[in-house]
Amino acid sequence: MSDTEKPSRWARIPPVAKGAAAAAATAADTAGTAAASEAVGLRSARFRAEREGDWRALEALVTKVERGGPRSLNFADARSMATLYRQAATSLSVARAISLDRALLAYLEALVARSYLAVYAPQESIGQALGRFLQSGAPAAMRALWPFMLAGLGTLLLGLLTGWLLFLESEAWYDVVVPRGPGDPRGPEATREELLSVIYSGGGSALEELSAFAAFLFSNNARIAIFAFALGAFACLPTFILVFYQGLFLGAFVALHVDRGVGLDLFGWLSIHGVTELGAIIVAAGAGYAVGYGVLFPGRERRRAAMARMARPAVKAAIIAALMLFAAAILEGFGRQLVQETWIRLAIGWGIGALWLTWWAYGGRRA
């Protein structure tokens, strides 16, 4: 077998590779060839002596890449590394067939593995990856997952409706559904003025109160979004419960304000960041549903493979959700306290919501 692909075939190495091999072949190489001339009888020793220089050259190149990244190679080096890698892979294959030298097999296996890792390393830079994601990857994923996003929206609306109806049935439900911090005036006993004072609180101590509450709400929502995505793998059920509960809470909250006649003011207060923030929860839930769908209905694939396939766009949606949460935090931190007019609050909130939708609908589409 080694006879058929001896010098004639190896002589066809491109000149570049040969140059690199010669450059990197050191004293060890010459020692190897000298020793081999004595052990001519051993076919596998001859095989090794003939190729050792190339292996050493490849090793030197791979070490260089491991230290300084692929950019540390010039064009000729990069080209010869690819050639030498393929030759080393062939050598490994041949050595497995003809050699019983354990040390040689271990060396070749490690060398090929190292070069494989160097050759097939991720090629993208962070900037490239980010640009591609924002321009085409993310909107395409959202378009691919739109039924799941609708399901997420539906879950939230269902919870909202249920919470509202529960509140209409008995105001006592409010304290069951809504977690209340100490000193939070908003409850079944609250008056219209108290509710309004929170919605339009401008500065001073109320700002501190509110920012703490906003931070709580944000971290709460971020958590819900993360879990809604991550737990989707468990057959969608945890996602449903989480988002439904979030809707329930919101429903009772809104119902209380509508009941006191401050519905529109609350709508403005919520809209400025809530459109983006609840949007994030919906997107995260949709991503979770997509993963769960792969688990529930794998079709002809194995469940693991189906889940991995659905996870591809779902991860992109989850990142969008994280971005939206970040945007919501900024809106919440600055916008809500600075902008006190309901109509402007509404315009900002829904305007940004429309921007998100436009991005998803048209981003990365070929005209």
């Binding site: 077998m1 060890a28 020692a31 190897g32 020793a35 081999a36 004595e38 052990a39 009888g41 051993l42 596998s44 020793a45 002596a49 050792e52 292996w55 090793e59 393929r86 892979a89 490994l92 003809i98 050699s99 019983l100 030298d101 040390a103 040689l104 060396y107 296996e109 490690a110 060398l111 593995a113 190292r114 494989y116 890792l117 097939y120 390393a121 991720p122 993208e124 830079s125 962070i126 501190e208 920012s211 931070a215 709580f216 971290s219 971020a222 958590r223 993360i226 879990f227 995505f229 991550a230 993963v291 693991r304 889940m307 991995a308 996870a311 591809r312 991860v315 989850a318 970040f326 935090a329």
Partner: protein, 323 residues
């Protein structure tokens, strides 16, 4: 496929997996790169992974704490807000840190670099950006968010605290129950964490000098590849033996081996004490040449039991013909 019950399919799949596991050692991940030559990489131990994780946590934690201190000094805000912002900052430092470093250094965070570990794609293809993002987002959901929650509400709310604790324990136990030591994020992203292979080319044992002992085919018919490679290991160790005490112990080992081999292969020429290593080297070279030639002709001899193992009639016939 549809004719079989799911139970039958499951069992045959399990059998296939068991066979596969027998073929490859448990700690090696086999993959087939596009070149088509399968290679094996050692799966990283959980200890090394925890150590790498610890380094990374330390780095991100320090950066986060420094940022929070700067923030607290600059902004006159209540502690509750600062702590909430701190959790937020940690979240927005941590995941990007893992993603960016693994993308930049081909699957290695600084911690993994230190422990010589690397994330690879399980199927032998290039590690995709999305896989890196996915496995690190899952890390957030697996450990970090429940962990933070546990710290925040663990004391005040024992029920949700114990749920979080149970979740974390469950997630940390998942790598113990699969061969590739994958955590949940690895399974979903189809990645494996492996040790960096280290390539060290040892000198050729069979070619150091002209042979002093000669062996006949009937001397070489007793052993297989396993014994040959064990002998190789002993010889390499003997060559590297340094100080005199170590040396003496190695000489003792060699003497026993020489005695055993001579008895088994029926080698009658005298071998002096000084010649033990030379004898073994020559025997190694001759035995390897013999076995490799056999292997080229399609007869692999795994070990000294090769006679009883594979098609005894043919081997016996061959032996008879040689004699």
């Amino acid at each position: 496929m549809s004719r079989e019950g799911w139970w039958t399919r499951r069992r045959s799949r399990a059998r296939a997996r068991r066979q596969e596991a027998r073929a490859a050692p448990r700690t090696v991940h086999q993959l087939v790169p596009p070149e088509g030559v399968p290679i094996g990489l050692n799966i990283a131990s959980l200890g090394a992974r925890f150590a790498a994780q610890f380094v990374d946590l330390l780095l991100t934690g320090l950066a986060g704490v420094a940022l929070i201190i700067v923030l607290a000094a600059l902004v006159d805000a209540p502690w509750s807000l600062v702590s909430a912002l701190g959790a937020l900052i940690l979240f927005f430092i941590r995941t990007p840190y893992y993603v960016a470093t693994e993308l930049l250094w081909a699957g290695r965070t600084p911690g993994k670099r230190m422990m010589r570990l690397r994330v690879i794609s399980a199927d032998g293809r290039s590690l995709a950006t999305y896989a890196i993002v996915l496995r690190n987002l899952m890390k957030e959901a697996e450990v970090f968010v429940p962990g933070t929650l546990l710290l925040i509400v663990g004391a005040s709310d024992p029920i949700s605290g114990s749920i979080m604790l149970g979740w974390i324990i469950l997630v940390l136990a998942i790598p113990l129950f699969n061969r590739e030591r994958q955590r949940l994020g690895d399974i979903i992203a189809q990645t494996v964490v492996v040790e960096e292979p280290e390539a060290l080319l040892m000198p050729e044992l069979a070619a150091t000098r002209a042979a002093r002992f000669t062996f006949q085919p009937h001397h070489l018919d007793h052993y297989g590849a396993y014994e040959l490679q064990t002998l190789e290991r002993v010889l390499r160790a003997a060559e590297q033996a340094g100080d005199t005490r170590h040396r003496a112990r190695q000489d003792g080992t060699l003497a026993v081996i020489v005695q055993k081999i001579r008895a088994r292969i029926d080698f009658s020429d005298p071998v002096t004490d000084a010649d033990h290593q030379a004898f073994l080297q020559d025997f190694y070279a001759a035995q390897r040449q013999y076995l490799e030639a056999r292997q080229l002709m399609g007869e692999k001899r795994a070990d000294k039991h090769h006679r009883s193992a594979a098609s005894p009639t043919r081997v016996e016939a061959g032996d008879a013909a040689e004699r």
